[in-house]
């Protein structure tokens, strides 16, 4: 997959997300903020460096590639 700086390449599937907060806390670029129920919100997509760490560290398979598998 091609890395694109400045574009958040994932979707967050609410059905699977358990709102653990790992993506919010550990994103090096602070792309996410936590909503009122601790759910992740992509509030700074342009800061995304394409490191993919949020994807790798999501324990819930909720952060998914925005491509049809």
């Amino acid at each position: 997959m091609e890395k694109k700086k400045g574009k958040f390449p994932f979707i967050i599937e609410e059905r699977l997300c358990k709102k653990c907060g790992i993506c919010v806390s550990h994103c090096p670029a602070k792309v996410f903020t936590a909503g009122p129920g601790n759910e992740p919100r992509v509030t700074n997509p342009r800061k995304c460096t394409g490191c993919n760490l949020c994807f790798f560290r999501c324990p819930d398979f909720a952060i998914q590639l925005e491509v049809s598998p």
């Binding site: 907060g21 550990h26 790798f56 398979f61």
Partner: protein
């Protein structure tokens, strides 16, 4: 690190969401397995995920390929029969620290000694979480658990070193925080012929994190970041300083013949 887009083929999405707690590291390790399988492009029917009992034992429900969920600790003994009758099958044993260190300790040592062609992913969350957070052999000395309210009175077992000593071809340990190292170790383990073992220190915010005041999922991830050191750095510490850290990294990579090879050679005569 790039993402192999077909990783989703190895997951049974209909069974998700999984039963693991928020912030539990099991899903991170299981995803690491799926990513490695996608990268290596192994056909689904040539794969088996074998599990034991406890939280990690439920992983088989979430994969789209063959799965085997055995009795507690015996998984590698079952896998012995599977390995020798289906030598082309890639067997991934996704086990807990109880499966590996306690009830299954003997089977682990002998599977490593025989050098069966199996990859073990040990999810070491430092406690028996499915049953309510009791201490396990890998729980560090002094840790608080539901059966050691004043601190665990026993020394911890280092399963990775044991497996290395027992004769495995590949042994490494890391954490669910260090995902690029994790995913790389899993891939290297899967590429190993013979016994390979990856210890994955994993977050259990519900019990281990809570009892030991480490905190929730994100805090446990931070704890792994701060409390673990690469093996070379760790080795340079004084004995006293070592008490404060856990080492991670590769222990062994070698090329002894696997069980079926040593067996068949001696049956030809």
């Amino acid at each position: 690190m790039d993402i192999p887009v077909r990783y989703g083929d190895y997951i049974d999405w209909d069974q998700l969401p999984h039963l693991w707690c928020p912030g539990c590291g099991n899903g991170i390790a299981l995803k690491g397995v799926a990513l490695a399988l996608a990268e290596l492009n192994i056909p689904l029917h040539k794969l088996l995920l074998a599990t034991g009992i406890g939280c990690s034992g439920r992983a088989g429900n979430y994969v789209s390929f063959h799965s085997f969920d055995g009795t507690h600790g015996r998984t590698l003994a079952f896998c012995t029969g599977i390995n020798v009758t289906q030598p082309d099958l890639k067997i991934i044993a996704f086990l807990g620290d109880g499966d590996c260190g306690a009830i299954g300790g003997n089977h682990l040592l002998h599977a490593a000694r025989r050098n069966l062609n199996i990859t073990v992913i040990e999810i070491n969350n430092f406690n028996y979480a499915m049953t309510g957070g009791q201490f396990s052999p890998t729980t560090p000395l002094s840790s608080i658990t539901s059966t050691s309210r004043k601190g665990k009175a026993e020394y911890a077992m280092d399963t990775a070193s044991l497996v290395a000593e027992a004769g495995a071809n590949y042994v490494a340990s890391t954490t669910v925080y260090h995902t690029s190292q994790l995913n790389n170790f899993i891939k290297e383990a899967l590429l190993t012929r013979g016994f390979s073992f990856v210890e994955v220190m994993s977050s259990c915010p519900t019990y281990y994190g809570r009892y030991n005041h480490i905190g929730d999922g994100p805090e446990m991830m931070k704890w792994f970041k701060e409390k673990t050191l690469p093996r070379d750095k760790y080795e340079k510490l004084s004995l006293e300083e070592k008490q404060n850290y856990i080492e991670r990294g590769k222990l062994v990579q070698r090329n002894r013949e696997d069980f079926l090879t040593t067996y068949k050679k001696r049956r030809k005569k």
